[in-house]
């Protein structure tokens, strides 16, 4: 157990103590007790940054968990893990601080729940990014899904919260299971659960037939978590969560878990055309779809949700483009594609900063005005100047305007997509033109929703009568976190190279290992002015066309496209869920009729088909006439009588005849026992049959009259077919068994009983010796059965349920 293990586990330990803080110190907001933890973790993690230059040192610590299954809780800290861990703890600190002011310390707010879930989430997320073992990653991965659902349903009395929580749970857990299957396939290919060891198996994985299934299954996990098309539908519904949760989980950290996974597995799968196409394709489509959908939203958090979807698509597509660098054909032009990875890492950081601050700002607006609906808001610029400033910075960065950090990553994004058109692998030349085009159109829509968000909220006329509260500036404490994030947006905007060799380069080295000689570093130099190149003109185009669309907003505001808010894909989810319930009800109703006969029908049919198939298929069917004993003439008489008595029974419709016939059958069986030299059996059978007939006669008076069965002919025919089938299968099996027992004779163990009955047990009646001596346990338990039956009969007859009591 090392300090790094403790980093991942500390939040869980903290979660245990939270209820104590909450109930013991009611007057102090519980959040204050939590706040130091992420801060300490953040400061602790900073020391791993290569601040003095030079490559980052990786750290690995292992604790065995289930060693026999190759499951070790191994923490591995490299550039990528560190980047995510810093994001998680850093933004975690700010979110906890923000939530202290956002969620009032009122009696009815279960703050203990909130912080327990939040800490659980933070620990799980740190576990995901720090672990090296696939199974451990999966465990933490599912914990993030669980914590996320709990947080979404924090106000569980609201129906929408529960709906959103269920939806996110179903979608992300489905992906999680797929991912687990993918991990298992990886294990089958390599024999290890350690990611770093898996990376060394490169060729074995690429040539394996399991390569594609494993890749797709793992990507399913990543895509569901990171809200990629078409799994993005849970994210807008997750906005029912308290705003600090949306800021933390649904913009900065959890939704990036999928990004992390893709980045982490780039050294394993990267270089394959399928990986390139799937990630780039879905990423770009998600980018476009999210930005177009965001334009339609009327709720500020709705806009931000789709904006997050869109930006995640952007990062994803960049990772896809960057994976081309791993391809073995690319040697000279590598830097063209590593630029995409650089842009992905940069935008990951940028997005966390500006999206976090924007969510917090929206929370403030909601908190101070009582609504998030852009149709009700307006003219808040002079009322909430600080909030407005933060929003302006965040939105400008999101739109990709200079001098904020969003501009840098957007330019690099364009560079990445433009580079892809020159790619001479994977047949990109022909289709590659689509990439920059899609990116450009999506950027225009991004610009449009940014404008809508900014101008609809802060400019125009203020309508106090539409708001639930009188609008005013937020308290200072609430503003601290967004101000810090907004400052980061500006700082990273003006001094992007602060990040270059401290964090971006180590992260890139984790995503693209093996491209560098030891000791080398990626050339990371981010600057605002590239000269008059295509990217700059594309940005100008974005601003121009975006402004045109926004200025003409009125014209297409009335179109149905704009008026609808919900994503059309929700229809598939909702009707799929309803269909699943309806379908299973139908199946259930069809087979679970509650009729005894139907269940017997299933069982007998299965018996007939199963045994019949086996007899037929294994060729076991055989009849052996040679090894049979001779038949005496009286045997024909006995068996014929038995068959006759039996066959008549179904036609009998009076109780007394049925009982008498049963007696006849029983006594004939006893007679057969006599013939086959089983005196004890014959004796018992006679006795039992007599008692049985007496029993039947005893209850005779109370038994119902045997009514004629009023079956439909078809019904009767089915019964007949099934019973003949059963009889036939039993007969054939018995015949075959008889024949085969002579083909492969096994000497019976009875010889032992015959020889030793007297010598060992001192008895001459071998059957009785077996019953009470050799196999006495059977008899003991058989006596027990009779005893239990006797008791049960007494209880059944004596026990009378009182009125209203359930029998």
């Amino acid at each position: 157990m090392s300090t790094l293990h403790l980093v991942a586990l500390a939040p869980f330990i903290m979660a245990i103590f939270i209820p104590f803080f909450y109930f013991k110190f009611r007057h102090i907001h519980t959040g204050w007790f939590i706040l130091p933890l992420p801060l300490i973790l953040f400061i602790y993690l900073i020391q791993y940054l290569p601040l003095g230059g030079g490559p980052m040192e990786t750290v690995e610590r292992s604790v065995p968990w289930v060693p026999s299954l190759d499951i070790h809780f191994t923490v591995f800290l490299d550039g990528l893990s560190l980047l995510f861990a810093l994001l998680i703890t850093g933004i975690g600190t700010l979110v906890v601080l923000y939530s202290i002011y956002y969620i009032a310390n009122k009696k009815e707010e279960p703050l203990n729940n909130f912080y327990v879930y939040l800490m659980m989430f933070m620990g799980a997320m740190l576990g995901v990014v720090l672990s090296d073992n696939l199974i451990v990653i999966y465990v933490f991965w599912e914990l993030t899904s669980l914590a996320s659902s709990l947080l979404i349903a924090y106000w569980f009395h609201k129906e929408k919260s529960r709906y959103g929580a269920q939806k996110s749970m179903l979608i992300t857990v489905t992906g999680g299971f797929a991912m687990l299957a993918g991990f298992s396939l990886l294990y089958m290919m390599t024999g290890t659960f350690s990611i770093r060891e898996i990376i060394t198996y490169g060729d074995a994985i690429v040539t394996s037939p399991l390569f594609l299934p494993a890749m797709i299954l793992i990507l399913l996990g990543a895509f569901t978590k990171s809200a990629q098309f078409p799994f993005h539908i849970w994210l807008p519904d997750a906005m029912e969560a308290p705003t600090p949760v949306s800021a933390y989980l649904h913009s900065a950290t959890m939704v990036k878990a999928g990004i992390y996974l893709v980045a982490r597995f780039t050294p394993v799968f990267g270089g394959a055309p399928e990986w390139f196409w799937i990630i780039t394709g879905f990423g770009l489509f998600t980018l476009l779809w999210g930005s177009v959908s965001a334009v339609r939203q009327k709720d500020l958090k709705g806009i931000l949700a789709f904006s997050t979807v869109s930006q995640l698509g952007l990062i994803m597509s960049l990772l896809g483009l960057g994976s081309a660098a791993v391809h073995f054909d690319v040697v000279d032009g590598q830097s063209l594609y590593t630029v995409a990875v650089l842009a992905a890492v940069l935008h990951l950081i940028n997005h966390a900063t500006f999206k976090g601050s924007l969510f917090m700002v929206v929370g403030i607006i909601d908190h101070e005005t009582g609504t998030r609906d852009i149709r009700k808001l307006g003219g808040l610029m002079t009322i909430m100047p600080v909030t407005f400033t933060i929003s302006l910075i965040g939105i400008a960065s999101m739109a990709g305007l200079p001098p904020f950090n969003g501009f840098l990553s957007k330019e690099m994004f364009f560079t990445g997509t433009l580079n892809s058109t020159t790619l001479d692998i994977f047949n990109v030349q022909t289709l590659g033109v689509i990439f920059p085009a899609v990116a450009w159109i999506a950027s225009i829509f991004t610009f449009v929703y940014c404008m809508i968000m900014l101008f609809k909220t802060f400019t125009g006329k203020h309508h106090p009568e539409r708001l639930e509260k009188e609008a005013h500036e937020a308290p200072a404490g609430m503003l601290i976190s967004p101000v810090i994030l907004a400052s980061l947006v500006i700082i990273f905007g003006f001094f992007p190279n602060l990040l270059a060799y401290t964090i971006i380069d180590p992260a890139m080295q984790s995503i693209l290992p093996g491209l560098l000689e030891p000791g080398e570093q990626f050339y990371v130099n981010i600057y605002h002015w590239h000269g008059l190149n295509t990217e700059l003109f594309m940005t100008m185009g974005v601003v121009f066309f975006g402004s045109m669309i926004f200025l003409n907003l009125r014209k297409w505001q009335e179109t149905t496209f704009y008026l609808k808010e919900r994503d059309p894909l929700n229809w598939f989810y909702d009707s799929g869920l309803v269909g699943l319930i309806k379908g299973s009800t139908v199946v259930n109703d069809v087979q679970m009729t509650g009729r005894l006969r139907d269940y017997f029908t299933y069982m007998f049919t299965f018996l007939v088909l199963g045994m019949g198939y086996m007899l037929w298929n294994t060729g076991a069917l055989a009849v052996d006439m040679a090894n049979t004993a001779d038949i005496s003439i009286y045997m024909y008489i006995i068996t014929l009588s038995l068959v006759l008595a039996t066959v008549v029974i179904p036609f009998v419709s009076s109780r007394i005849s049925a009982i008498v016939l049963m007696g006849v059958i029983g006594f004939l069986v006893a007679l057969l026992f006599v013939v086959f030299r089983a005196p004890d059996l014959a004796l018992t059978q006679l006795l039992v049959e007599t008692v049985m007939v007496v029993l039947f006669l005893l209850v005779f008076y109370h038994l119902p009259e045997l009514k004629k069965e009023t079956f439909k002919p078809a019904f009767r025919l089915t019964n007949l077919v099934i019973s003949i089938g059963v009889g036939l299968v039993v007969t054939l099996t018995a015949l075959s068994a008889h024949a085969l027992s002579y083909e492969n004779p096994i000497s019976p163990i009875s010889d032992y009983f015959v020889e030793n009955a007297y010598a060992l047990a001192g008895g001459n009646n071998i059957v009785n010796v077996i019953l009470v001596d050799f196999r006495g346990l059977d008899t003991l338990l058989e006596v027990l059965v009779l005893g239990i039956v006797g008791l049960a009969v007494v209880v059944l007859i004596k026990f009378k349920a009182k009125k209203g009591e359930d029998v």
Binding site: V643, M662, L695, E709, I722, V726, H738, F753, V785
Partner: protein, 112 residues
């Protein structure tokens, strides 16, 4: 002789199945009783019906019939008897409580 016995057993099984598939509780019980007869006879038959003395050592014969299946069948007969007795009483109580022995009418409530 084995073939003849197996055919007889087949008839017993057929009729037993037919009875078990009916609606009346009493018929189902009769079906179960016949089924156990069939099973006992099948057991005896498949262990071989070779001629020999009854498994009593006092007979001092050269060969005896197989004693083990006889012991097993004896156990089965007693257990079968116990089960039948129990089912019979259960049917009696069910009939008293619900005034019907039609299994279709004893299906339980809709929401079950």
């Amino acid at each position: 002789m084995e073939i003849l016995m197996i055919l007889t057993v087949g008839v017993l099984f057929t009729v037993a199945t037919y009875m078990i598939l009916s609606k009346s509780m009493l018929r189902v019980i009769i079906g179960v009783v016949i089924l156990s007869h069939g099973a006992h006879l099948l057991f005896l038959t498949l262990s071989g019906l070779k001629q020999g003395a009854p498994p009593l050592l006092g007979e001092e014969a050269s060969a005896y019939t197989d004693p083990l299946p006889q012991a097993l069948i004896l156990t089965a007969i007693v257990i079968g008897f116990g089960i039948t007795a129990f089912m019979l009483v259960l049917a009696y109580r069910t009939y008293k409580a619900h005034k019907t022995d039609n299994l279709d009418e004893l299906r339980g409530t809709e929401d079950e």
